[in-house]
Protein backbone atom coordinates (compact mmCIF):
# COMPACT_ATOMS: atom_id res chain seq x y z
CA UNK A 1 0.00 0.00 0.00
CA UNK A 2 1.36 3.39 -0.98
CA UNK A 3 1.75 6.29 1.38
CA UNK A 4 -0.85 8.29 -0.49
CA UNK A 5 -3.66 5.82 -0.02
CA UNK A 6 -2.92 5.27 3.64
CA UNK A 7 -4.59 8.40 4.94
CA UNK A 8 -6.44 7.95 8.20
CA UNK A 9 -9.61 6.06 7.59
CA UNK A 10 -8.68 5.18 4.02
CA UNK A 11 -6.25 2.34 4.45
CA UNK A 12 -6.41 -1.04 6.07
CA UNK A 13 -5.84 -1.37 9.77
CA UNK A 14 -2.34 -2.63 9.20
CA UNK A 15 -1.51 0.35 7.05
CA UNK A 16 -2.97 2.64 9.67
CA UNK A 17 -0.90 0.96 12.29
CA UNK A 18 2.24 1.42 10.20
CA UNK A 19 1.63 5.07 9.46
CA UNK A 20 0.16 5.84 12.82
CA UNK A 21 1.37 8.87 14.70
CA UNK A 22 -0.03 9.82 18.06
CA UNK A 23 -2.92 12.25 18.22
CA UNK A 24 -2.66 14.17 21.46
CA UNK A 25 -5.11 16.76 22.70
CA UNK A 26 -3.68 19.34 25.10
CA UNK A 27 -5.98 21.41 27.28
CA UNK A 28 -3.93 24.36 28.47
CA UNK A 29 -4.56 27.52 30.40
CA UNK A 30 -4.41 30.85 28.69
CA UNK A 31 -2.03 32.58 31.08
CA UNK A 32 0.85 30.17 31.59
CA UNK A 33 1.07 27.10 29.40
CA UNK A 34 -0.41 28.71 26.33
CA UNK A 35 2.02 31.59 26.75
CA UNK A 36 4.78 29.00 27.22
CA UNK A 37 3.75 27.31 23.99
CA UNK A 38 3.75 30.68 22.31
CA UNK A 39 7.23 31.34 23.60
CA UNK A 40 8.39 27.98 22.29
CA UNK A 41 7.04 29.01 18.91
CA UNK A 42 8.52 32.49 18.81
CA UNK A 43 11.82 31.05 20.02
CA UNK A 44 11.65 28.70 17.03
CA UNK A 45 12.06 25.64 19.22
CA UNK A 46 11.35 22.42 17.37
CA UNK A 47 8.87 20.03 18.89
CA UNK A 48 6.68 17.16 17.77
CA UNK A 49 3.65 18.22 15.71
CA UNK A 50 1.28 15.71 17.30
CA UNK A 51 -0.46 17.95 19.76
CA UNK A 52 -3.71 19.82 19.18
CA UNK A 53 -3.80 22.64 21.69
CA UNK A 54 -7.10 23.78 23.15
CA UNK A 55 -6.78 26.97 25.14
CA UNK A 56 -9.00 27.66 28.14
CA UNK A 57 -8.96 30.52 30.62
CA UNK A 58 -7.68 28.32 33.43
CA UNK A 59 -7.04 24.68 34.30
CA UNK A 60 -9.84 25.16 36.79
CA UNK A 61 -12.19 25.39 33.81
CA UNK A 62 -11.16 22.02 32.39
CA UNK A 63 -14.09 19.75 32.97
CA UNK A 64 -13.56 15.97 33.02
CA UNK A 65 -16.07 15.94 30.18
CA UNK A 66 -13.45 17.53 27.93
CA UNK A 67 -11.07 14.67 28.52
CA UNK A 68 -13.76 12.07 27.93
CA UNK A 69 -14.77 13.81 24.74
CA UNK A 70 -11.19 13.85 23.47
CA UNK A 71 -10.83 10.11 24.01
CA UNK A 72 -14.28 9.50 22.58
CA UNK A 73 -13.44 11.36 19.40
CA UNK A 74 -10.14 9.65 18.77
CA UNK A 75 -7.35 11.13 20.89
CA UNK A 76 -4.55 8.70 21.75
CA UNK A 77 -3.63 10.75 24.78
CA UNK A 78 -4.64 13.89 26.64
CA UNK A 79 -2.37 16.47 28.22
CA UNK A 80 -3.58 18.98 30.75
CA UNK A 81 -1.27 21.85 31.59
CA UNK A 82 -1.47 25.07 33.54
CA UNK A 83 0.28 27.49 35.85
CA UNK A 84 2.64 26.36 38.59
CA UNK A 85 1.13 26.29 42.09
CA UNK A 86 0.85 29.79 43.42
CA UNK A 87 0.91 31.34 39.94
CA UNK A 88 -2.74 30.97 38.95
CA UNK A 89 -4.10 34.08 37.32
CA UNK A 90 -7.30 33.45 39.24
CA UNK A 91 -5.48 32.65 42.48
CA UNK A 92 -6.53 29.03 42.96
CA UNK A 93 -7.85 27.50 39.73
CA UNK A 94 -4.84 25.22 39.38
CA UNK A 95 -5.16 24.03 42.98
CA UNK A 96 -8.74 23.04 42.30
CA UNK A 97 -7.69 21.38 39.06
CA UNK A 98 -4.88 19.47 40.77
CA UNK A 99 -7.27 17.83 43.20
CA UNK A 100 -9.80 17.13 40.52
CA UNK A 101 -7.24 15.46 38.25
CA UNK A 102 -5.75 13.57 41.13
CA UNK A 103 -9.09 11.81 41.48
CA UNK A 104 -10.28 11.71 37.91
CA UNK A 105 -7.14 10.07 36.60
CA UNK A 106 -7.67 7.26 39.12
CA UNK A 107 -11.11 6.65 37.70
CA UNK A 108 -9.80 6.60 34.14
CA UNK A 109 -6.94 4.28 35.03
CA UNK A 110 -9.35 1.99 36.81
CA UNK A 111 -11.52 1.71 33.71
CA UNK A 112 -8.67 1.12 31.30
CA UNK A 113 -7.31 4.51 30.27
CA UNK A 114 -3.94 4.20 31.91
CA UNK A 115 -1.27 6.67 32.85
CA UNK A 116 0.48 6.27 29.50
CA UNK A 117 -2.35 8.30 27.97
CA UNK A 118 -2.95 10.96 30.58
CA UNK A 119 -0.45 13.70 31.24
CA UNK A 120 -0.47 16.62 33.58
CA UNK A 121 2.08 19.38 33.80
CA UNK A 122 2.82 22.87 35.02
CA UNK A 123 4.39 25.06 32.35
CA UNK A 124 4.83 28.76 32.98
CA UNK A 125 4.86 31.57 30.43
CA UNK A 126 8.64 31.65 30.67
CA UNK A 127 9.13 27.93 30.09
CA UNK A 128 9.16 27.69 26.31
CA UNK A 129 11.89 25.09 26.45
CA UNK A 130 10.02 23.05 29.03
CA UNK A 131 6.96 23.08 26.81
CA UNK A 132 8.90 21.88 23.78
CA UNK A 133 10.61 19.16 25.81
CA UNK A 134 7.33 18.13 27.37
CA UNK A 135 5.61 17.73 24.03
CA UNK A 136 8.52 15.68 22.69
CA UNK A 137 8.51 13.53 25.82
CA UNK A 138 4.77 13.00 25.79
CA UNK A 139 4.71 12.25 22.07
CA UNK A 140 7.44 9.68 22.46
CA UNK A 141 5.71 8.00 25.39
CA UNK A 142 2.42 7.81 23.53
CA UNK A 143 4.25 6.45 20.52
CA UNK A 144 5.59 3.71 22.78
CA UNK A 145 2.12 3.03 24.16
CA UNK A 146 0.69 2.72 20.66
CA UNK A 147 -2.74 3.67 19.34
CA UNK A 148 -5.51 4.00 21.90
CA UNK A 149 -7.37 0.73 22.03
CA UNK A 150 -10.39 1.07 19.74
CA UNK A 151 -12.20 -1.47 21.90
CA UNK A 152 -11.90 0.79 24.92
CA UNK A 153 -15.42 1.71 26.02
CA UNK A 154 -14.46 5.38 26.01
CA UNK A 155 -13.99 5.36 22.25
CA UNK A 156 -16.86 6.08 19.94
CA UNK A 157 -17.36 3.30 17.45
CA UNK A 158 -18.88 3.57 13.99
CA UNK A 159 -22.67 3.67 14.19
CA UNK A 160 -24.40 0.48 13.20
Amino acid sequence: MTQASAKPGAGTEAAEQKDWTPRIVAFVCNWCTYAGADLAGTSRLQYAPNVRIIKLPCTGRIDPLFILKAFEQGADAVLVSGCHPGDCHYTSGNYHARRRWGLFRRLLEFTGIDSRRLFFSWVSAAEGQKFADLINEVTEEVRQAGPFDTSNPARKRPWT
Partner: protein, 269 residues
Protein backbone atom coordinates in the same frame (compact mmCIF):
# COMPACT_ATOMS: atom_id res chain seq x y z
CA UNK B 1 -33.36 -3.83 67.62
CA UNK B 2 -36.37 -2.21 69.23
CA UNK B 3 -38.70 -2.13 66.24
CA UNK B 4 -41.72 -1.47 68.43
CA UNK B 5 -40.14 1.68 69.80
CA UNK B 6 -39.46 2.87 66.26
CA UNK B 7 -43.08 2.33 65.29
CA UNK B 8 -44.25 4.17 68.42
CA UNK B 9 -41.89 7.06 67.72
CA UNK B 10 -43.04 7.28 64.12
CA UNK B 11 -46.67 7.30 65.20
CA UNK B 12 -45.98 9.93 67.85
CA UNK B 13 -44.16 12.19 65.38
CA UNK B 14 -47.11 12.07 63.01
CA UNK B 15 -49.60 12.43 65.81
CA UNK B 16 -48.14 15.56 67.34
CA UNK B 17 -47.21 17.09 63.98
CA UNK B 18 -43.45 17.05 64.43
CA UNK B 19 -43.38 15.24 61.10
CA UNK B 20 -45.88 15.15 58.27
CA UNK B 21 -44.39 12.10 56.67
CA UNK B 22 -42.26 9.20 57.84
CA UNK B 23 -40.23 7.42 55.21
CA UNK B 24 -39.07 4.04 56.33
CA UNK B 25 -39.44 0.48 55.13
CA UNK B 26 -42.15 -2.10 54.86
CA UNK B 27 -42.20 -5.70 53.82
CA UNK B 28 -43.58 -6.62 50.43
CA UNK B 29 -43.56 -10.23 49.28
CA UNK B 30 -40.49 -11.07 51.30
CA UNK B 31 -38.64 -7.93 50.27
CA UNK B 32 -37.91 -4.70 52.05
CA UNK B 33 -39.19 -1.65 50.17
CA UNK B 34 -39.60 2.04 51.06
CA UNK B 35 -42.71 2.90 53.04
CA UNK B 36 -44.47 6.25 53.21
CA UNK B 37 -46.40 6.74 56.38
CA UNK B 38 -48.62 9.78 56.72
CA UNK B 39 -51.01 8.55 59.39
CA UNK B 40 -50.04 7.43 62.86
CA UNK B 41 -52.18 4.34 62.54
CA UNK B 42 -50.13 3.12 59.56
CA UNK B 43 -46.87 3.22 61.49
CA UNK B 44 -47.30 -0.38 62.49
CA UNK B 45 -46.38 -1.44 58.95
CA UNK B 46 -42.83 -0.18 59.44
CA UNK B 47 -40.05 -2.69 59.60
CA UNK B 48 -36.30 -2.70 59.33
CA UNK B 49 -33.48 -5.13 58.64
CA UNK B 50 -30.11 -5.07 56.94
CA UNK B 51 -31.67 -5.74 53.52
CA UNK B 52 -33.27 -2.28 53.63
CA UNK B 53 -30.67 -0.86 51.30
CA UNK B 54 -32.54 2.04 49.66
CA UNK B 55 -31.24 5.43 50.71
CA UNK B 56 -34.45 7.21 51.59
CA UNK B 57 -32.61 10.52 51.84
CA UNK B 58 -32.98 10.54 48.03
CA UNK B 59 -36.63 11.45 48.54
CA UNK B 60 -35.70 14.80 50.02
CA UNK B 61 -35.16 16.23 46.54
CA UNK B 62 -38.71 15.33 45.50
CA UNK B 63 -41.01 18.37 45.49
CA UNK B 64 -43.90 16.19 46.72
CA UNK B 65 -41.82 15.14 49.71
CA UNK B 66 -40.34 18.58 50.31
CA UNK B 67 -43.83 20.02 50.46
CA UNK B 68 -44.50 17.68 53.39
CA UNK B 69 -41.58 18.82 55.48
CA UNK B 70 -40.68 18.18 58.23
CA UNK B 71 -40.09 14.60 57.18
CA UNK B 72 -38.77 11.83 59.41
CA UNK B 73 -36.48 9.25 57.84
CA UNK B 74 -35.49 5.80 59.00
CA UNK B 75 -31.75 6.05 58.55
CA UNK B 76 -28.80 3.77 59.05
CA UNK B 77 -25.37 5.38 59.58
CA UNK B 78 -24.54 5.59 55.86
CA UNK B 79 -27.86 7.31 55.24
CA UNK B 80 -27.29 9.58 58.23
CA UNK B 81 -24.03 10.61 56.58
CA UNK B 82 -25.92 11.45 53.40
CA UNK B 83 -28.14 13.73 55.47
CA UNK B 84 -25.23 15.48 57.13
CA UNK B 85 -23.65 15.89 53.70
CA UNK B 86 -26.86 17.32 52.26
CA UNK B 87 -26.83 19.82 55.09
CA UNK B 88 -23.18 20.66 54.37
CA UNK B 89 -24.18 21.24 50.75
CA UNK B 90 -26.99 23.59 51.83
CA UNK B 91 -29.71 21.23 50.66
CA UNK B 92 -31.22 20.69 54.09
CA UNK B 93 -31.73 22.54 57.30
CA UNK B 94 -32.28 21.18 60.80
CA UNK B 95 -35.96 22.05 60.47
CA UNK B 96 -36.48 19.86 57.41
CA UNK B 97 -35.84 16.41 58.79
CA UNK B 98 -35.84 14.17 61.80
CA UNK B 99 -34.02 10.88 61.92
CA UNK B 100 -35.23 7.56 63.25
CA UNK B 101 -31.74 6.23 63.73
CA UNK B 102 -30.90 2.58 63.26
CA UNK B 103 -27.50 0.93 63.37
CA UNK B 104 -25.47 -1.85 64.92
CA UNK B 105 -28.70 -3.72 65.64
CA UNK B 106 -29.86 -0.84 67.80
CA UNK B 107 -32.58 1.72 67.49
CA UNK B 108 -31.26 5.15 68.42
CA UNK B 109 -34.56 6.98 68.73
CA UNK B 110 -35.65 10.25 67.18
CA UNK B 111 -32.71 12.49 66.37
CA UNK B 112 -32.34 15.98 65.02
CA UNK B 113 -29.81 16.54 62.28
CA UNK B 114 -27.37 17.95 64.83
CA UNK B 115 -27.87 14.94 67.10
CA UNK B 116 -27.43 12.67 64.12
CA UNK B 117 -24.09 14.28 63.37
CA UNK B 118 -23.03 13.79 66.96
CA UNK B 119 -24.16 10.16 67.02
CA UNK B 120 -22.21 9.47 63.85
CA UNK B 121 -19.04 10.92 65.30
CA UNK B 122 -19.50 9.26 68.69
CA UNK B 123 -20.51 5.79 67.58
CA UNK B 124 -19.92 5.39 63.89
CA UNK B 125 -16.74 7.35 63.28
CA UNK B 126 -15.00 4.36 61.82
CA UNK B 127 -17.33 2.63 59.44
CA UNK B 128 -15.29 0.01 57.66
CA UNK B 129 -15.66 0.16 53.89
CA UNK B 130 -17.12 -2.99 52.41
CA UNK B 131 -14.24 -5.47 52.40
CA UNK B 132 -15.59 -7.45 49.47
CA UNK B 133 -15.84 -4.34 47.32
CA UNK B 134 -12.33 -3.23 48.26
CA UNK B 135 -10.95 -6.64 47.43
CA UNK B 136 -12.67 -6.58 44.05
CA UNK B 137 -11.25 -3.10 43.39
CA UNK B 138 -7.79 -4.42 44.12
CA UNK B 139 -8.35 -7.39 41.86
CA UNK B 140 -9.25 -5.07 39.00
CA UNK B 141 -6.36 -2.73 39.73
CA UNK B 142 -4.02 -5.67 39.35
CA UNK B 143 -5.25 -6.24 35.80
CA UNK B 144 -3.56 -4.84 32.71
CA UNK B 145 -5.14 -1.70 31.23
CA UNK B 146 -6.51 -3.84 28.40
CA UNK B 147 -8.12 -6.27 30.83
CA UNK B 148 -9.62 -3.43 32.81
CA UNK B 149 -10.93 -1.90 29.64
CA UNK B 150 -12.51 -5.22 28.67
CA UNK B 151 -14.02 -5.71 32.11
CA UNK B 152 -15.71 -2.31 32.02
CA UNK B 153 -16.72 -2.70 28.37
CA UNK B 154 -18.71 -5.73 29.37
CA UNK B 155 -20.19 -4.03 32.40
CA UNK B 156 -21.20 -0.80 30.67
CA UNK B 157 -22.62 -2.73 27.70
CA UNK B 158 -25.43 -3.72 30.07
CA UNK B 159 -26.39 -0.12 30.79
CA UNK B 160 -29.77 0.84 29.33
CA UNK B 161 -29.53 4.42 30.60
CA UNK B 162 -32.58 4.12 32.80
CA UNK B 163 -30.82 6.36 35.33
CA UNK B 164 -32.05 4.32 38.28
CA UNK B 165 -28.56 4.87 39.77
CA UNK B 166 -29.07 8.60 39.61
CA UNK B 167 -32.60 8.42 40.95
CA UNK B 168 -31.60 6.25 43.90
CA UNK B 169 -28.79 8.55 45.02
CA UNK B 170 -29.53 11.31 47.53
CA UNK B 171 -26.56 13.30 46.26
CA UNK B 172 -27.87 13.39 42.65
CA UNK B 173 -30.11 16.38 43.22
CA UNK B 174 -29.24 18.57 40.23
CA UNK B 175 -32.34 20.17 38.79
CA UNK B 176 -31.07 19.29 35.35
CA UNK B 177 -28.49 16.55 35.11
CA UNK B 178 -25.54 17.07 32.80
CA UNK B 179 -26.69 14.09 30.74
CA UNK B 180 -30.02 15.82 30.11
CA UNK B 181 -28.36 18.93 28.76
CA UNK B 182 -27.95 19.10 25.03
CA UNK B 183 -26.43 22.51 24.32
CA UNK B 184 -23.80 21.24 24.01
CA UNK B 185 -24.44 17.53 24.25
CA UNK B 186 -21.43 16.32 26.20
CA UNK B 187 -22.70 12.83 26.87
CA UNK B 188 -24.37 10.75 24.18
CA UNK B 189 -27.81 9.65 25.37
CA UNK B 190 -27.76 6.56 23.17
CA UNK B 191 -27.25 3.38 25.18
CA UNK B 192 -24.06 2.59 23.30
CA UNK B 193 -20.43 2.16 24.29
CA UNK B 194 -19.12 5.72 24.42
CA UNK B 195 -22.24 7.30 25.89
CA UNK B 196 -22.50 4.60 28.53
CA UNK B 197 -18.85 5.05 29.42
CA UNK B 198 -19.07 8.82 29.65
CA UNK B 199 -22.28 8.65 31.66
CA UNK B 200 -20.94 6.17 34.18
CA UNK B 201 -17.63 8.05 34.51
CA UNK B 202 -19.31 11.38 35.07
CA UNK B 203 -21.91 9.98 37.43
CA UNK B 204 -19.16 8.44 39.56
CA UNK B 205 -16.97 11.50 39.38
CA UNK B 206 -19.72 13.92 40.32
CA UNK B 207 -20.01 11.84 43.48
CA UNK B 208 -16.29 11.90 44.24
CA UNK B 209 -15.90 13.09 47.80
CA UNK B 210 -19.70 13.07 48.17
CA UNK B 211 -20.45 9.36 48.24
CA UNK B 212 -21.07 7.70 51.58
CA UNK B 213 -20.91 4.25 49.98
CA UNK B 214 -24.49 3.43 50.94
CA UNK B 215 -24.80 1.11 47.94
CA UNK B 216 -28.24 2.31 46.86
CA UNK B 217 -27.16 2.99 43.26
CA UNK B 218 -25.80 -0.48 42.73
CA UNK B 219 -28.86 -2.01 44.37
CA UNK B 220 -31.06 0.10 42.11
CA UNK B 221 -29.33 -0.91 38.88
CA UNK B 222 -31.68 -3.39 37.19
CA UNK B 223 -28.82 -4.67 35.06
CA UNK B 224 -26.48 -5.52 37.92
CA UNK B 225 -23.61 -3.21 36.98
CA UNK B 226 -21.13 -3.09 39.90
CA UNK B 227 -21.32 0.67 40.33
CA UNK B 228 -19.92 0.55 43.85
CA UNK B 229 -16.54 -0.41 42.45
CA UNK B 230 -16.34 3.07 40.90
CA UNK B 231 -17.76 4.88 43.89
CA UNK B 232 -15.68 3.04 46.45
CA UNK B 233 -12.52 3.48 44.41
CA UNK B 234 -13.02 7.23 44.53
CA UNK B 235 -14.04 7.15 48.19
CA UNK B 236 -10.85 5.23 48.97
CA UNK B 237 -8.76 7.80 47.07
CA UNK B 238 -10.51 10.63 48.89
CA UNK B 239 -9.64 8.97 52.21
CA UNK B 240 -6.10 8.08 51.29
CA UNK B 241 -5.04 11.16 49.34
CA UNK B 242 -7.01 13.89 51.07
CA UNK B 243 -7.78 12.36 54.44
CA UNK B 244 -11.49 12.96 54.14
CA UNK B 245 -14.57 10.88 54.83
CA UNK B 246 -17.65 12.85 53.86
CA UNK B 247 -20.78 13.05 55.94
CA UNK B 248 -19.38 13.57 59.43
CA UNK B 249 -19.22 17.34 59.48
CA UNK B 250 -22.04 19.58 58.36
CA UNK B 251 -19.60 22.50 58.23
CA UNK B 252 -17.08 20.72 56.01
CA UNK B 253 -15.97 22.09 52.67
CA UNK B 254 -16.61 19.82 49.73
CA UNK B 255 -13.64 17.60 48.87
CA UNK B 256 -13.74 18.75 45.27
CA UNK B 257 -14.18 22.46 45.55
CA UNK B 258 -11.55 22.86 48.21
CA UNK B 259 -7.78 22.26 48.21
CA UNK B 260 -4.61 22.23 50.21
CA UNK B 261 -1.35 23.73 49.07
CA UNK B 262 0.35 20.41 49.77
CA UNK B 263 -2.09 18.22 47.82
CA UNK B 264 -0.38 15.38 45.98
CA UNK B 265 1.10 16.41 42.66
CA UNK B 266 3.46 13.57 42.04
CA UNK B 267 1.60 12.85 38.81
CA UNK B 268 2.19 16.36 37.48
CA UNK B 269 5.28 16.99 35.39
Amino acid sequence: MDLEKMKQDAAALLEDGRANLVIGFRERAGECVPAFVTDADQADALTYDETCIANVAAYLRKPEVRSRRPVALVARPLVMRSLVLLKAEQQLTDDDVLVLGVGDDAYHGVLTLAETEKLLNDQYARLAPDAETLAEIERIEAMSPEERSRFWSEQFAKCTRCYACRAACPMCYCERCIVDRNVPQWISTAAREHGNYAWNMIRAFHLAGRCTECGACEAACPQGIPLMLLNSLLAREVRDAYGQTPGYDAEAQPVIGSWNTDDDEEFIR
